[in-house]
Amino acid sequence: MFDFFTEMLSYVFIVRALIVGLLVSLCAALLGVSLVLKRYSMIGDGLSHVAFGALAVASVCHVAPLAVAVPVVLLAAVLLLRLSENSKIKGDAAIALISTGALAIGVTVISVTTGMNTDVCNYLFGSILAMSKSDVYLSVGLALAVLILFICFYQKIFAVTFDENFARAAGVKTNLYNIFIACLTAVTIVLGLRMMGALLISSLVVFPALTAMRVCKKFLMVTLAAALISVFCFLFGLVLSYIYAMPTGASVVIINIALFLFCGLLAGLQAKGWLRTILVLVILGGLLAAEEKVIEIKENFFVTQTNEIYANAPDYLGRTLKYEGIFSLYEDPDSGKKYYAVIRYGPGCCGTDLNAGFEVVWDKEYPQANDWVEAVGKLEEYDDNGIRALQLRLASLKILPVRGKEQVMR
């Protein structure tokens, strides 16, 4: 697991994508709560199309893409808000106008100059390779600014989102804050656009907020949960896209959808009163699965743990034990029966009966006595001439080259 992540993070482009992606998804989720509640979800979509147009023009003119896209999209954000407040063109129609218009300009500019190529595809659906070093610095700076501004104006954003008229009566300049929210969204969208893709970026705004709203009932909780969900989905999506070579943006969105449906299911079950029943079943299932797990006897409490197993033998019968010790052999002088065991020398000074460990049986060849072995097997009970004894039916017995502590004190 650890090796896997070290390998993944050894690629510079993935580290860049990770840094920028985490910050962008955090910002998008925070702003998303307010946008979704204000019925402005489509603004994200509209702005992403405008950003596509701006990036296309910038790449054709060989100018730094972010430096062109950020101001253009900021302008579009202000324009969109102004348009949706204007009663002549309603909000959704205004967004459709601007977004398709910008998309058309972008596509035309690209196809006339460089032709439709993989660049266009990358802009539309996102590419993990998109971030250059200077982009990363700019993105981190802008994303941090968005985060800090959001935290500073959190209370105002809540008041304006909950009831704009009231906030205005109380003396808050609500128009200013609407524009402020739209501008923060614009910056966030431009930053995430090339990784997530113009067609997919608005999902970062919408999904975490919707998912959080299904499970949380306080605004603060919804905001925090949305941030957490967004970051989690991004990480998971990035790992998924790394393992299965899928497009990053699409995998993040798919994880978001899965979590959204799962939370919807949870909320639905809760509403119907089934949630507790299901939870109990899941916990029971988990316990049953834990039953199957191997119990490992470690060096530190070797004697204590073996004593515990002998004392409560009925609880442990049928369970799989795993431990290391000295393979030893003992022959009963009266009956001539051979006993095999894997033990460590216990705290007693000389009596063999104080050695801690278990008698073992298995159907393959036994190793040499005094070999250091790792034994894995099922604990069972048998009748040894009228004495009920415990033995371990081995599943594996490995001879290890390095010997552990032979003398254990506790």
Binding site: N165, F166, G171
Partner: protein, 227 residues
């Protein structure tokens, strides 16, 4: 003079709903706006708050009022049905006007919110989700928020709608007390007997200003009109 309308008219969706408004309010007044449904009460209140600009005439208010935060209880909650917020978050947001450039509320803000929650009997509901409350409980929550916001002026649009008689009585008592303490209250109401008991002035609207004056002269005006 605290606030005055000079031949003002207000429109809703491009249609003039209320016109010929000529009245003025002094600090400490308790004005009840009465009239039938659609007579322009809510529109007038929004005009007084500056949420609407008059399409004719003027609405003038003194500078110290414009700068202070007014408490407003809207008739219909602009907040959506699926909005996730707890009662205490909503009430605390009433202090938004006093936040200034500070990012978070102070202990004094929290204390004020606490007091207003108690005044309206909402203490036990403070952790509940606003959207899950009954109509009357939502109304009281929004009233508590308006009280948090009101520094000099409290504008209430049908504060009693959906309240049971005892809760309504409590609200009346509370408003009277606040008014005596110096708060100016302008309230739209359908409860005429209550208005006559409570208010210092009555404004009667029927898409035009029909009457404005002290309660006693309003009573006489009504008798004359009906007889």
């Amino acid at each position: 003079m605290f606030l005055s309308c000079q031949n003002a008219a207000l429109a809703y969706d491009g249609n003039i709903v209320v016109s010929e408004l000529n009245f003025s309010a002094e600090a400490g007044d308790y004005i009840c706006v009465v009239g039938e449904n659609g007579s322009g009460k809510s529109t007038l209140l929004q005009g007084l708050l500056g949420l609407k600009t008059p399409c004719a005439g003027k609405i003038i208010c003194s500078a110290d009022w414009r700068e202070s935060s007014s408490g407003y209880l809207p008739q219909q909650t602009a907040a959506q049905k699926d909005f996730p917020a707890s009662v205490s978050e909503v009430v605390l947001s009433g202090r938004i006007g006093r936040l200034g450039w500070r990012p978070f509320y102070s202990a004094a803000d929290r204390k004020a919110a606490q007091t207003n929650l108690r005044l309206l009997g909402l203490e036990r509901l403070r952790g509940r989700c606003f959207r899950e409350l009954s109509g009357g409980q939502q109304r009281r929550t929004l009233l508590a928020r308006a009280l948090c916001a009101a520094q000099k002026l409290l504008i209430l649009d049908e504060p009693l709608a959906g309240l049971d008689p005892s809760a309504a009585q409590n609200v009346y008592t509370l408003l009277k007390k606040l008014n005596k303490a110096g708060l100016t209250i302008i309230m739209a109401s359908h409860d005429l007997p209550g208005a006559l008991r409570q208010a210092s002035h009555i404004l009667h609207l029927q898409n035009k200003q029909k009457f404005f004056g002290p309660v006693e002269s309003y009573k006489k005006w009504r008798e004359k009109k009906h007889v």
